[in-house]
Amino acid sequence: MPELLKIKNLQAEIDGKKILHGLDLQINTGEIHAVMGRNGSGKSTFSNTLMGHPAYKISSGEINFNGTVINDLKPNERAKLGLFLGFQYPLSIPGVTVASFLRQAHKALKGDTASPRDFRKLLYEKMDDLEIEHAFATRYINDGFSGGEKKRMEILQMAMLEPKLAVLDEPDSGLDIDSLKLVAQSINKYKEKNPQLGVLLITHYQRILDYLRPDKVHVFIDGNIVESGGPELAVELEKKGYDWLAEKEAAKA
């Protein structure tokens, strides 16, 4: 499988505070990687840095996405190359409907000229796939949405924009077990239809991995990957917690 994402020695900071300490990671086309870590370990810093959030500065290292070094690209340029970020905290944009937003994003990324009617048809198809009610198309983006609805709308956006790599930042956080299942099923459904899609799934809990079988699991502590393994690593973490790895790290230092 060809390389999709290759990160070498990535160091990043925010407000002069160093958060990522020399991270290496490689994801190939079609693979699902899970990054697991405690709150505050730097997972969102990592996802924001990948997508090009202007507040996060790369102080050294390289992000190579599908053959292009994207360190200096704007978020929209990265999106155009096929990178997608599902936000941990999706933002609401009052007054802008989901449909008009997605139409413009679709146009920007795919340069298409689908008529409003054809676009709506496509949108409804994707909504049907993910069992999202059509009524959401005319609602304002994330305005008054429940936690679960927001997360599922992120998956809908992914399905509409058809990225090569989807970075999903805690799609499971703050959800009850039923919502979690719905979100996981949405991701699965889309992934089944699009086996080429690479997924970087960032999560705090092991539970979502019951639904989404990762090829690789990485453990994130203090802004770096300290351990990598297969799906069994997630199970081990669930049993033992993060402490043993943190101690192991501390011993190394």
């Binding site: 704007k74 978020p75 990265r78 933002l91 994003a105 920007a108 304002y140 956006q157």
Partner: protein, 467 residues
């Protein structure tokens, strides 16, 4: 101006039927007022009304609120108070500022309409459209005329209602308008009549649409309804620096009036407008007011809820763009009767050093029981150098009143930009999307063609606002 109708009208200079020997002079004198009245061949009561108003204008001080600094810059001695159409036509296309011409270009305004908007052509007409409209309205008994013709043809109705809502004593600019008014619309809707299509100011014939001192009077008789639209999104160039209109609306029992205005004056214009409505029992009055352009706009559409169960609503949007621009706009609602309700929604955007102020009054008279009101004003500032202020006033003299008031001032947050950009939108597109979303509560109330135009205009305004 609905762009869709572009190819349906022709324009042309109108031969003046009247041939008065009148030479406009600067400054305001009794002689000027008398000659305006004479030229219009007005009844005696109107002439006296004008003269009385002139006295009031002389005596009244400038408002001591609003942008007093800019107001005091107005030089009343250096203004033409009445310019006949024939004189107006002498202005040439070459005099129209380049930036206005450019905007016409980019908005795709056709040649004919440009000249009209630029004040080069005094009027333009849609004989065909207007004619059939007039026939339909006539069958319904609807009167839709310019104010001058209204006074000539329906002196009794005009006399009964004229200046009953905005008397000349109200403020200096209302007095000024009362003394020198010309043009504007006169509309009367008979009882029980629902006018389905919006009445648009520019269908009026033989009048100065963009008059300096317009006077509009709308009476919706019992159980009738009407939607009136004036203005357009394209920039309106005027060499007259002072525009001061008066609008009076009267919604009788169970009647409904919606009044939509979109104004985009050139940057030399003071736009000081007194708009006021009275809603009788069970009546509904809605002001939709969009303000762009001008140097200083001061405009606070008001509604007096004088009958039980009357409802008043003001939705306004102001865009202040550039350090030479101040939009001081808002709303006033006065609850006089019981069980009356009101909603004020105000949205302002300031950018490039522009200044937007919200000034509002919510008043509940003693004895007005069970009143409900919601006031929501949101300001969006697009950069650090712009300014936004709110001056809300509440005078509530009753206990049993339910008032909600909410005011927000926001900036375009980096997180939102990042969110939208991560979906492929450029920074400019992302900002525009947030601004459009902000304006949506106003835009969604507009007829389609106006909404499209307004969005396009905002897009133009926003261009180059980055970096």
């Amino acid at each position: 101006m609905a762009l869709e109708l572009n190819n349906e009208y022709q324009y042309g200079f109108h031969d003046s039927e009247e041939n008065y020997a009148f030479k406009s002079v600067r400054g305001l004198t009794k002689e000027i007022v008398l000659s305006i009245s004479k030229m219009k061949n007005e009844p005696l009561w109107m002439r006296e009304f004008r003269l009385k108003a002139l006295e009031i204008f002389y005596k009244k001080p400038m408002p001591k609120w609003g942008d007093t600094e800019l107001l005091n810059e107005i030089d009343f001695e250096n203004i033409f108070y009445y310019v006949k159409s024939s004189e107006k036509q002498e202005k040439s296309w070459e005099d129209v500022p380049k930036e206005i011409k450019n905007t016409f270009d980019r908005l795709g305004i056709p040649e004919a309409e440009r000249k009209f908007l630029a004040g080069v052509s005094a009027q333009y007409e849609s004989e065909v459209v207007y004619h059939s409209l007039r026939e339909d309205l006539k069958k319904l008994g609807v009167i839709f005329l310019d104010m001058d013709s209204g006074l000539r043809e329906y002196p009794d109705i005009v006399k009964k209602y004229f200046a009953t809502i905005v008397p000349p004593e109200d403020n200096k600019f209302a007095a000024l308008n009362s003394a020198v008014w010309s043009g504007g619309s006169f509309i009367y809707i008979p009882p029980g009549t629902n006018v389905e299509i919006p009445l648009q100011a520019y269908f009026r014939i033989n009048t100065e649409n963009m008059g300096q001192f317009e006077r509009t009077l709308i009476i919706a008789d019992e159980g009738s309804s009407v939607h009136y639209i004036e203005g357009c999104t394209a920039p309106t160039y005027s060499s007259d620096s002072l525009h001061s209109a008066v609008v009076e609306l009267i919604a009788l029992k169970n009647a409904k009036i919606r009044y939509t205005t979109i104004q985009n004056w050139s940057k030399n214009v003071y736009n000081l407008v007194t708009k006021r409505a009275v809603a009788h029992e069970g009546a509904v009055v809605e002001w939709l007011d969009g303000n762009m352009g001008s140097k200083l706009t001061m405009k606070y559409p008001s509604i007096y809820l004088v009958g039980e169960r009357a409802h008043g609503e003001v939705v306004s949007v102001a865009l202040a763009s550039g350090s030479d621009q101040h939009q001081d706009a808002g709303a006033k609602i006065i609850h006089i009767a019981s069980n009356t309700t009101s909603v004020i929604t105000s949205k302002s955007i300031s950018r490039n050093g522009g200044r937007a102020s919200y000034r509002g009054l919510l008043k509940v008279h003693k004895g007005a029981k069970n009143v409900k009101s919601t006031v929501k004003c949101d300001a969006l500032m697009l950069d650090e150098i712009s300014r936004s202020d709110t001056y809300p006033t509440m005078e509530i003299s009753e206990k049993c009143v339910q008032v909600e008031h909410e005011a927000t001032v926001s900036k375009i947050e980096d997180e939102k930009l990042f969110y939208l950009m991560s979906r492929g939108l450029s920074e400019e597109q992302a900002k525009l999307m947030i601004v459009n979303g902000f304006m949506e509560p106003f835009v969604k109330e507009l007829p389609m063609e106006y909404a499209v135009e307004l969005n396009r205009l905002i897009e133009l305004e926003m261009e180059g606002s980055i970096g």
